[in-house]
Subunit: 518 residues, 2 copies
């Protein structure tokens, strides 16, 4: 079978080096990894099988964590009546500028041209959900009467649409896939605990599964979710030093329960509005994954999210050799599968081993096992890692050699799980090192300018006590903003304590995280 | 914690008996089982956590089967440009009358009223996908060049929208969830094999997982998917004797590859249009599940699709008893969980055991374990089945007793898996018996009329050689239609062979399946 996930025959995109053109590198990695592509529909992407398989792995990991914290999944309508959206004022103004509006429900042929049938015009337009607070809280009104009905802990996996003018695969698309948790609580305290708990779940997922270190904190007022009282976020650093917001958790107070008139009888028999939270992560995380770990050869996947963790490639010249090496490859695959490893044997004919290596490296598969006639004779296996820790100044050829290990068969098979485990940890450590190398504690505008204009920038720990127009000035001068106001334990020791605002000189209680961002 | 899947406090819908009002019974089962409800958005339903959990179980089972047959998942855009829909003529006319049309991408406040911003009118309207052939084949054009790129075996899990005027929870809603397989092949033969293979997957899933017996066959021309050359279906019989189409698999020939201009170079170096298939099942299957197995006490779930297979209810009067029975319930739960059983302990306080029994029966949980202080003393457990095979004329109280088994603890725990297995088989046998009891081999219009007008109807095996206007006549006179033209092995021995058309008397090669339907 020639096809590989819908890859076009002979499709071998070369990857532009990061140093040359970072934005192009990102697109090339996606193309070579067969992850996604633009569709003919403005701003909408097609997630190709390999990209979707990574999303499925993420979903499984997240869903298990949501269920372990007491949440259940449900499904609410794709459409929101216009009047619902406008029930919460800030929410409406936040989403009105970027939504898909349905106005008709039938087509008609007029003079040979198919157009929306004027007679099918809807009395009230419908909005394709940009997020589901309003439609979900309309339903919660039927479900909540008493404190005994609370907490209500629900999550939805869904597609949402925000009409973005400038799109970028995974990072910003008109339609994207996500999960949105929507919970209802009897007290503010309990709701706030939920908001913090779910941010913790996201941070744990980012660090232990995606191997992406993140900074947890609060968003500034201007960056809050439309309709939220408090928005918490996790922020990761991409390899170009820019921040990427990877997940948010919102405390909505009683804003949405008031909009939908959802009251409950508390233990004292009084009627109160319900306290709400919402939280979400999206296919944007695949963008974070790519930009944190991948290299100039293409995609690198942390083993915990790799749909294929080990690819086995039989090497042969004759039909006889093909038979024997393929048989051994299948045996090794079966043994690895029995250990719980996601393994694939690449038996495609007519493709040179080198081309296969190249293709699987581009897809980010952590380990490759090569099995040739000599390996059969020796009873050994050659295992090649997708990456090894870098040594400054090392020649590519030397590194390539260092990536390969030759071991007796049984030993090689036993080494797979520990190696995958080690690679998962190495990726996380590597990302932390990279972040540390591009992080500064900065106290003067001069140093700030130097960092962002001359040194490539990154994360800056600065004291801040400015207004939102001061924030605008920082954005205009440096293209930077406050990513979040980190929780105290997120601030490195050398950056703790009080000080004076970088811009205004006013007293500041703690530093914030400033950087450029996606 | 008082809440149970968003159930309103004290929400205890009584179920209307089937014999009294079948349509109302269906709605009551859904309500009592907390499966779904109507939303404020016309024709769209909300799938509640218990209903969604059943869908998740179905998804997992189906997805495993799709992957085992070589398919990969991907994701394509929600929106289809109007011009795409019209590329395949029959397809367009089939869906033009029931689609959601997006015409604007922004809202605006005009005199205090929020309306679609006239300046944001789209040059070309977008359709919310009713099915994805056209948008997917536009992408396949980029992916397919040579026979080596084929077959391309892709599936998508998604929401789709068909603007239905008359909706019914799960069976017919404007938005529904489904999977749609879209495959591309180098030859007609291979494509047809895929069409048959996937119908087989659906039939196997229906019978072994859903415990619903189905008839496999071809649809008549008038009932084919818009744009298909051949449509195969599986048809189940509901308890009211009506048929429900549970899944379809289409051979699309080169209709869509021509529309999207997708050619490939075959082994002889010539350019040919690609051969296509598509196949799908939807949340409609939950409707089939309900209407096949449930009874006047509410939902009955086959163990393989029950999100909770065993619920354990501690019974107590004092705090001391509560402590001891709850502890034992948790221990039993842990032991069952270790055996792979989906188990839940209902520890809610302030709710009488009887109310709990009633609630879990309504949710279709196959087995209930009751643990009271006496059971602790005796070292025994009481296991109650959701259903037992019916005995004609048996009093409800007698049946209720027969549903309970008292066994020594270890024996009781060991009995759970075999009991679940037996219940799964019993449901299938029960459904087959019900179907057999309402199936007739009919040779005269007189008998046909008697069957459908006096005897309640069901499946009729009749010879047919009529035209489509003859079909219309059967629909007008009896509200019946040809469900499908069954494969030969689907026809019971007594109905095989040639004969003469029921209506026209013309010669007929084989019988077809006629019935009323949803």
């Amino acid at each position: 079978m020639g096809k590989q996930d819908g890859q076009k025959t002979g499709e071998t995109a070369a990857v532009t080096p990061r140093a040359k053109d970072y934005a192009q590198w990102y697109l090339d990695v996606i193309k070579q990894g067969l992850l996604a592509e633009h569709s003919p529909v403005r701003g909408c992407m097609v997630i190709r099988p390999h990209g979707y398989a990574i999303w499925e792995k993420m979903q499984r990991e997240l869903d298990d964590r949501f269920k372990a914290t007491g949440h259940e999944n449900a499904y609410f309508p794709l459409f929101i009546p216009l009047s619902f959206l406008t029930k919460e004022e800030k929410h409406a103004s936040g989403f009105a500028k970027e939504c898909a509006v349905i106005t008709h429900h039938r087509l008609k042929s007029v003079n040979g041209e198919v157009v929306p049938d004027p007679e099918s015009k809807l009395d009230e337009p419908l909005i394709v959900r940009p997020t589901s607070e309003t439609i979900i809280w309309a339903q919660y009104k039927n479900w909540i009467q008493s404190y005994r009905d609370l907490p209500l802990l629900i999550n939805q996996w869904a597609n949402v649409v925000r009409w973005e003018m400038r799109t970028r695969l995974f990072l910003r698309t008109a339609e994207f896939l996500w999960q949105e948790g929507h919970t209802a609580h009897a007290t503010e305290k309990e709701a706030l605990e939920e908001v913090w708990r779910m941010l913790g779940v996201y941070a744990d997922f980012a660090e232990t599964v995606m191997a992406v270190p993140v900074v947890k904190g609060r968003k500034t007022e201007g960056e809050r979710f439309a309709g939220a009282i408090e928005t918490l976020s996790i922020e990761g650093m991409m390899q170009d030093g820019k921040a990427l917001q990877m997940g948010t958790s919102h405390y909505l107070g009683q804003n949405f329960s008031k909009g939908a008139d959802v009251k409950f009888q508390n233990k004292d028999g009084q009627l109160e509005y319900v306290y709400a939270t919402s939280w979400g992560v999206s296919t944007r995380l695949i963008g974070a994954l790519i930009m944190t770990h991948s290299d100039d050869a293409g995609l690198i996947l942390p083993p915990k999210l790799a749909p294929v963790q080990v690819v086995i490639i039989p090497i042969y010249k004759s039909d006889d050799e093909r038979g024997r090496t393929t048989e051994e490859a299948r045996k090794v695959a079966a043994e690895l599968k029995a250990k719980g490893v996601a393994v694939k044997v690449d038996e495609r004919e007519g493709i040179m081993p080198g081309a296969k290596y190249y293709e699987w490296e581009g897809k980010g598969v952590p380990l490759r096992v090569e099995i040739g006639p000599k390996d059969l004779e020796k009873g050994s296996l050659c295992i090649a890692r997708r990456f090894v820790s870098e040594i400054a100044g090392e020649a590519p050829e030397a590194q390539r050699k260092r990536r390969k290990t030759f071991l007796p068969r049984a030993e090689a098979i036993d080494s797979v799980l520990p190696t995958l485990d080690a690679m998962q940890k190495e990726l996380f450590e590597r990302a932390k090192k990279l972040r540390a190398a591009r992080t500064r504690v900065i106290d003067t505008l001069e140093d700030y300018e130097k960092f962002f204009k001359d040194e490539g920038g990154g994360f800056a720990w600065v004291h801040w006590a400015g207004t939102s127009s001061d924030e605008d000035e920082m954005a205009k001068r440096f293209e930077t903003g406050i990513r979040n106001i980190p929780f105290e334990d997120q601030i490195p020791p050398e950056a703790r304590g009080e000080g004076r605002c970088l811009l205004t000189g006013k007293p500041s209680k703690q530093r914030v995280l400033m950087s450029k961002s996606y």
